[in-house]
Amino acid sequence: MITGNIITDFSLLILFLPLVAFTVNIFFGKRLPRQGDWVSIGAILITLILSLSMLLNMFMNWDPDFSHEAKFIWMDLGAFKIELGFWVDNITIVMLVVVSLISSMTHIFSLEYMKGDIRYSRYYAYLGLFTFSMNGIVLANNLISLYIFWELVGVSSYLLIAHWFEKPSAAAAGKKAFLTNRVGDIGFFIGIMLMFTAIGSFNIQEVFTGVSQGLIGGSLLTLAGVGLFMGAVGKSSQFPLHIWLPDAMEGPTPVSALMHAATMVAAGVYLTVRLFPLFSPDALLVIAYVGGFTALFAASIAITQNDIKKVLAYSTVSQLGYMILAVGVGNYIAAFFHLLTHAMFKACLFYGSGSVIHAMHHSLHELDDHDTDPQDMRNMGGFKSKMPITYLTMTIATLAISGVPFFSGFLSKDAILAGSLGFAQHYPQHFLLPVFGFGAAAITAFYMFRLIFMTFHGEAKMPKVFKGIHESPRVMTFPLMLLSGLSIFIFYTLPYLNPLSDHGWFTELIRAGDSVVPGNPTAHEIGEGVHHAHYTAMALSLLVAGLGIGLSYLMYLKKKLSAEVWANKMGLLYKLSYNKYYFDENYDRFLYQPLLKLSRAVAYVDWDLYDKYFINGFGRVTKWLSFLTGRIDYDGLDQSIVDGIGRATQGFGKQLKQVQTGRLQNYMLFALVGVIIILVIQTI
């Protein structure tokens, strides 16, 4: 039994150990033996052990309502006061295990995958930074630390995507990821401001209390909810901010597995799960539609991609859409369940693709071939015999993601589909939501088996390369085996053994809480709806999964149906899907370029017009005025008036001189004229 204080200590260690590893490796990594990878691995393994012991404690406690909070004063200005801290409950503990487990696997897998990399110690340092920030999100008890770690996760993602920054595409992808995420973060921040203004606290549970007391409601609550959800849209790569995740595949593959499949992108889902109680019905509808649409939309792109990592990237986007959909329809525990199972099988798939790419790299390297794309599935085929462990584990993960019984994905996917179906049964006008869900399920099964068949089955497309393909070493296959093992249903249903029902420790320990928004359906009501739709959903989901797998089998294994012919038949649709619906092109054309043009125009106005003509105009006018004053002063005043008086006097004197004739007659005449004038004046 672990008491509250120990939970706090464990949480502190889990949070800060990876940060210590980061600090050590960023400053001293290069000088340490083995470039300090053991520091990071040691730290992450301790983190894993600590989280596992917390998980064990959770099982021994068996308390669905377990909750522990610890906080400290971060800022105190009198009235304005912020406390940061931890909020640990069963969801937190499960999530901590997911993060530290996948992170440990990535650390181990990278030992081989990143061997000889020029920035090996830096790479491990950044993994530590990521794990730190991710656990920070998981543990946060308030919106501020959520936001802080949210952005830190964005930075570690930026640094790791741009790890091979010599490649311009990797550098661009890193920037794109950060900026796209920041668009979502702005919404997140506005949501936080709305909440704080109304409730006066950042603490999540105090915010819940505030909402339940009606301190914020109506459209303002919807707006705040949608704002907070924007953060999730960015981080979980939902439509329309989905564009960064496929590009993020420029990063090393173990990173893709850790961040861009299992944990970081799931942070958005985690956020909506955490904050579920405060979403208003309208906000939930927005969430449901965004998630559902993304699930189908991304799946429809994954079908036509040939890059093995791109397929998995779009698949991730689609699966995250699923989870978001589940939150939207109120079945948020199913979303978290799928987050958990997805983390295992998707990480496994990414490690598998990493193993394949690694083998391709080596083979191509030996052939001195630098033109062939090692990630293009059209260059693969038949790897089954050469890489049996990779093949087997990836197939297990594929069965899981496709929703085949006996595997974890079946349970969680089924819960989500049942949720959306139940929702549509209750609100028939939202019939599109289950359509999105089941449609995406069929497509998922199709493209995942397409991936397996193209990579591992059939003829080797490039026999020369095929010759050099080898199974990856133990450090790489170990995570594969472990995670594919964790894709078996039993780990989620214990202590029960029914492969068709998700009933087990998960559903018992992680219980849905009621929404705090007055008037929202309670968890019980939502559960009823799900339960009601359960069997229909299960039958339907088995059907669509079978359909997808069968079609894929016919097309890519048996070749009964030609993919080319079908692609031609689909024409426009194929082209749209292949080109990802031209989102990047259109964003570039209608957003980035106009913005850059605008910024250049603003800078031109600022510097070349406003400053040069208006501000300097004052100078010019002053100069001109002073010139004018100078002219008036010298030419006008001095030369004409002052000197003029002189000149006039002189001239007058000259004139007057002529009067001084010296003749008495003349003087007499003047005197007479003068007298006459005076007389005339006086008479008038």
């Binding site: 960023i26 004063i73 971060w74 800022m75 105190d76 200005l77 009198g78 009235a79 304005f80 020029i118 501020i144 936001y147 802080i148 770690f149 952005e151 830190l152 930075v155 930026y158 741009a162 920054f165 010599e166 311009p168 990797a170 550098a171 661009a172 890193g174 920037k175 950060f178 900026l179 920041r182 668009v183 973060d185 702005i186 921040f189 506005i190 401001m193 709305l194 704080f196 203004t197 006066g200 913005l595 850059l596 605008l598 910024s599 250049r600 603003v602 800078a603 031109y604 600022d606 510097w607 406003y610 400053d611 501000i615 100078g619």
Partner: protein
């Protein structure tokens, strides 16, 4: 220590006198004397911080001496939670700037003399509580700046220097008129503490040319200070002055001098014309928004790295204005929202300090690459990350601090400002959050173009950042990081004073009906 504040102000002048006796060819000695002077000054500033009583918002370590009694001019000094962080900032940046200036080789004696005189001017402005004294220091600061830009600057230095000088002088003239107006309407005194008491009521209802005297004086002072901040549309001297000034002077200019404007507004406009605060708050927030967006847009378009950083100052100082405007939230008509007023005002002062450290870092780092490559064209580099990894790391830290990444102090202050201003200026704040996206865009784009991509052959021999340069950047980075993680040491220092300031504005403002 008695007369601690006087020591802090006049110490650089002593250093200047000492330098006057050093032969001009002993440049090393001149630099060492400057370093020692500013070093002692920094120690005194830290000592001041340690013995400063942060629990009260009133002025401390007051010094009063008769000066020109026939005009009621007195030598009054004092420090509170508003001026203390600025004094520490100046002492810190001043000390660091000596080392940034270490490779100045022409007319060293003149350079460091003026450099120290500038320091005295700035310190004097922050610490004087007599309007006349304040104005004298304000002008004292202007002159060395003119020569430092005009003689040690870049190719267009003369143009930049004269523009800076005339522009700021124009502002000072308006300020002088306002000071005299206050002097004659509020009982013939320059004593700022007295004016804080008398001005709000003395000006009440006084009309000049049919306009409220409060508005007239407010606008005069505001323009005078706005030029320094710089507030749009008075900002165009700044990019030019920055680009042409030598590195150390850019560092002081961005790091400290821009804060004088905001300091003046808070010290004078806010306390003496509280009614004007209510009248002007909307405009202040709007101007803040324009600064944020306009500065960011201009920064995005720049090809010269230093000019980009200069425009980022316009952008960052916009947040300060926004936070200052939030103070009116605490008034009765805005619902007595003391929480917002505190968040906004503390955030604004915190942002001033943070911009000081972050922009100083940015300018130093620009100087480092300029000294090596002899140009600052963002597109002319590429691949520097593999060439100069330590330098790259530091630039990354500075850029991320600049774009308001959590973990760095800039985030904390910007977030406080947004939270504070939001209840009163909802739309303005929402639009200005676009600024944080543009912020990230211009920094990351510049970073990508300079440091990422294949290494540029032309620069494969560029030496890594050296120890002296590291010594100038690393302390700033550590401060930024520390305050980003744990802002309390800073906020606890200022919050009592901010509460007094809020009280001054709210209790006396909004009553006289200038609205």
């Amino acid at each position: 220590m008695n007369h601690l504040l006087s020591w802090i102000i006049w110490l650089p002048v002593l250093g200047m006198v000492a330098i006057a006796f050093i032969p001009r060819d002993k440049t090393e000695l001149i630099k060492q004397v400057s370093a020692a002077t500013t070093g002692i000054q920094l120690a005194l500033a830290i000592y001041l911080w340690r013995i400063f009583d942060a629990s009260t918002g009133s002025f401390q370590f007051m010094e009063t001496a008769e000066w020109i009694p026939s005009f009621n001019i007195t030598y009054i000094l004092g420090v509170d939670g508003l001026s203390l962080p600025m004094v520490i900032l100046m002492a810190l940046i001043g000390f660091i700037s000596v080392f940034v200036s270490w490779n100045i080789n022409t007319a060293v004696k003149g350079y460091f003399s003026l450099f120290l005189l500038l320091n005295t001017g700035v310190m004097g402005v922050f610490l004087s509580l007599d309007f006349f004294l304040f104005y004298i220091f304000w002008e004292v600061m202007l002159l060395p700046m003119y020569f430092l830009i005009g003689m040690w600057g870049g190719p267009q230095r003369e143009y930049a220097a004269i523009k800076f000088f005339l522009y700021t002088l124009f502002g000072s003239v308006l300020m002088l008129i306002a000071i005299l107006a206050l002097y004659f309407t509020c009982g013939n005194t320059f004593d700022m503490l007295l004016l804080m008491d008398t001005a709000p009521t003395a000006l009440n209802g006084v009309l000049w040319w049919g306009m409220s005297s409060i508005k007239v004086i407010w606008v005069l002072l505001f323009i005078g200070f706005a030029i320094k901040v710089p507030v749009f549309p008075f900002h165009t001297w700044l990019p030019l002055a920055h680009v042409e000034a030598p590195t150390a002077i850019s560092v002081i200019l961005a790091g400290v001098l821009l804060k004088l404007g905001v300091y003046g507004m808070l010290r004078i406009n806010y306390t003496m014309l509280p009614d004007g605060v209510f009248w002007f708050a909307g405009a202040l927030a709007t101007l803040g928004l324009i600064n944020v967006i306009w500065g960011a847009m201009c920064a995005l378009a720049q090809k010269d790295l230093k000019k980009m950083v200069a425009y980022s100052s316009v952008n960052h100082m916009g947040y300060v204005l926004l936070g200052m405007a939030a103070v009116i939230a605490a008034s009765e008509m805005n619902g007595d929202n003391l929480i917002s007023a505190q968040a906004g005002l503390n955030g604004a002062v915190f942002q001033m300090f943070n911009h000081g450290t972050i922009s100083a870092m940015l300018f130093i780092l620009v100087g480092v690459i300029y000294d090596r490559a002899h140009h600052r064209d963002i597109e002319g580099f590429g691949g520097l990350a593999s060439q100069m990894p330590i330098y790259t790391g530091l630039v990354a830290v500075a850029f991320f601090a600049g774009l308001g990444l959590p973990g760095f102090s800039g985030f904390v202050s910007e977030f406080m400002i947004f939270i504070g201003a939001f209840p009163v200026f909802r739309t303005i704040v929402i639009i200005s959050t676009i600024g944080i996206l543009l912020n990230a865009a211009y920094f990351l784009w510049a970073f990508q173009r300079m440091f990422f991509g294949p290494a540029n052959e032309k620069y494969k021999d560029l030496p890594e950042i050296n120890k002296r340069e590291l010594f100038t950047v690393v302390p700033l980075a550590l401060i930024t990081l520390f305050l980003g993680i744990y802002p309390r040491p800073f906020l606890d220092m200022i919050s009592a004073t901010m509460n007094v300031l809020i009280e001054q504005v709210v209790s006396l403002g909004g009553l006289a009906g200038v609205m």
